[in-house]
């Protein structure tokens, strides 16, 4: 516990310039690939031309019917595929022309903004020195859930990004043999971890729902930009408005991403090609958006805010941190604060006794 507590911020501060350098060099490269991809799309596939060449004897009416997919039979026994899949072309265009570049822009833009923000504004420091008294903020179960979900999210994001962009970078970089296992690994992980992520996300959302109902003070919090605008720290309960927004994003877009993912992940329920195309588009937009926002969440929870990671790592936050960021919650739980030194010795005892500090989300208050 201690070691984590001490080394994490250190590591991060050390890695910062290295990370930046990578981002700086990678972004233009990625943009270049996007541009290449776009120019490729610009030549435009033309299934009409292909089939006109392939079935020249067809007249205009037949044509229209072929495209509409009405009234046909197929030598494939269970086929639901009409002769022409007009939406395939649309899907391709949306995916390659819009989603791929704009996803990259969103994620790259978010990284750039965070970097800029960090360079200009820097870390949100504790205003008061640490009191040394700790308050239990995240139970072990909640932390486990959070880190599971977080790990899965990151894995899914990385594998997902690899599925979308990897071929431009890693295939030429590492060669076919490595790329083959890399990409099939990505797909396997993505497909098998996705449903697990979905289950855990639903659980965590249910557990944290109690904290995240919007309250009056949240508007004030937002108005003050979480304390960055104007003077004084805005009021916040257990969860501040920023966290609530993240929660509700996950509760809405996240669920949509999971649902659309499941549509693609379980093609054995006879959903049509069209359904899966739409699922893919929704999934990609949602996932790329969430990934971009997640970068913000990660930043705020680690580099951006002194003392925040500590809470999710150990479960306890310093009184000063609680007072500064979640003053309303602090008022509720301040008498449960314990001495940091004593906590070390009686950790197991405290944990078992105070499993759910403050307003217990699992119990009625």
């Amino acid at each position: 516990m201690r070691s984590i507590n001490q080394t994490w911020p250190l590591q991060h501060s050390r890695q910062q310039p290295w990370l930046l350098r990578i981002l700086q060099s990678l972004l233009p490269l990625l943009l270049l690939f996007v541009a290449l991809g776009l120019s490729h799309v610009a030549t435009a596939a033309d299934p009409d031309a292909e089939i006109n060449g392939a079935v020249p004897a067809m007249d205009a009416d037949t044509w229209r019917q072929v495209k509409s997919g009405e009234n046909f039979i197929d030598s494939r026994h269970d086929s639901t595929y009409n002769l022409i899949n007009p939406s395939g072309q649309t899907w391709r265009l949306i995916r390659n022309k819009w989603i791929s570049p704009f996803g990259l822009i969103a994620i790259g833009g978010m990284l750039a903004m965070i970097t800029l923000f960090y360079l200009i504004v820097g870390k949100n420091q504790l205003e008061e020195p640490r009191s040394g008294r700790k308050i239990l903020r995240w139970s072990a179960l909640n932390r486990a859930l959070h880190w599971s979900v977080a790990t899965l999210f990151i894995l899914l994001a990385l594998t997902g990004l690899n599925l979308l962009y990897g071929k431009f970078l890693f295939k030429p970089l590492f060669g076919d043999a490595f790329w083959a296992s890399m990409i099939s690994g990505s797909k396997l992980l993505h497909n098998y971890l996705g449903p697990l992520f979905g289950i855990l996300l639903v659980i965590i959302l249910m557990r944290f729902l109690k904290h995240n109902w919007p309250k009056r003070e949240d508007f004030e919090w937002l108005r003050k930009g979480g304390g960055m605008v104007g003077k004084g720290h805005p009021d916040a309960g257990f969860a501040n408005a920023g966290e609530k927004i993240w929660f509700w994003l996950l509760a809405t877009a996240g669920i949509v991403v999971i649902a659309s993912g499941l549509v693609m992940d379980f093609p054995n329920y006879q959903q049509t090609r069209d359904t899966m195309q739409w699922a893919n588009i929704i999934h990609a937009i949602g996932a790329l958006g969430l990934t971009a926002v997640a970068l913000g969440h990660i930043y705020i929870g680690t580099l951006g805010t002194e003392g925040a990671l500590e809470g999710m790592a150990t479960g306890y936050v310093d009184e000063s941190w609680a007072k500064q960021h979640h003053n309303l919650w602090y008022e509720e739980v301040k008498d449960q604060a314990v001495d940091g030194e004593r906590l070390e010795t009686s950790k197991g005892h405290a944990d078992s006794k105070h499993d759910n500090p403050g307003p217990d989300p699992a119990r009625p208050t």
Binding site: D46, A54, D74, N162, W179, P267, N280
Partner: protein
């Protein structure tokens, strides 16, 4: 370089499914995988028309554009092939393909589809040796100077395969004859050579 294409003369296709089983014969795809299929519109109505379809080996192939693993490539003959070692069975090529060409041996949970399979224009695919190629992709008739078996075996010579220009010329010739009541054929005379060209429609050049 030749640009290989298929062409189906809908005026002649009688939905006998010969092309479908010819493909099975050449490539031995498993139950459920029909690299070539016959689609019939308005079945049983006066406007009934049948068309044999497989991979069209598109000039700008959508499958190629959307493949996350970049497993597709185009041969010098314009044939779109794919590397089954790279394929992860994600199904994107199936979403994108205008013609329903890509098929998967399964449609399992967790997106387990197996390796995508599609028409290779009987040109096999990337492999280290002919045996591996045959086991993975089926026949490589192109290497032997032959054309895809589906077109070679078409019962009415409706399905043509070969260089795009050549097959377009054959088709144009047919259209000319069809358009001339009592006309064009007699002009050619009954010389066996003229008749034979018309009949065989040279799916394979001698």
């Amino acid at each position: 370089m030749a640009q290989m294409k298929f062409m189906c003369d809908a005026e002649r296709c009688i939905e006998c499914n010969g092309c479908v089983t010819a493909c099975k014969n050449a490539n031995e795809t498993e139950w459920g995988i029909q690299r070539r299929r016959v689609v019939t519109l308005n079945d049983g109505e006066p406007t009934e028309v049948s068309i044999s379809v497989a991979c069209m080996h598109c000039d700008d192939a959508p499958c190629m554009a959307v493949c996350p693993t970049d497993c597709f490539y185009k041969t010098d003959d314009g044939i779109v092939l794919h590397d089954k070692d790279l394929c992860i069975g994600c199904g994107y090529c199936l979403y994108a393909c205008p013609f329903g060409a890509p098929q998967f041996p399964q449609q399992g949970a967790f997106g387990e589809r197996g390796k995508m399979d599609k028409c290779t224009f009987c040109a096999g695919g990337p492999a280290d040796n002919p045996e591996e190629e045959y086991m993975k992709y089926g026949a490589n008739r192109i290497r032997e100077g032959k054309l895809p078996l589906c077109a070679e075996m078409c019962s009415t010579k409706a399905l043509l395969a070969g260089d795009a220009q050549t097959i377009a010329d054959i088709f144009r010739e047919r259209v000319v004859r069809r358009g001339h009541k009592d006309g064009a054929w007699s002009k050619l005379g009954d010389a066996p050579s003229a008749i034979d060209n018309m009949a065989s429609d040279a799916t394979r050049k001698p």
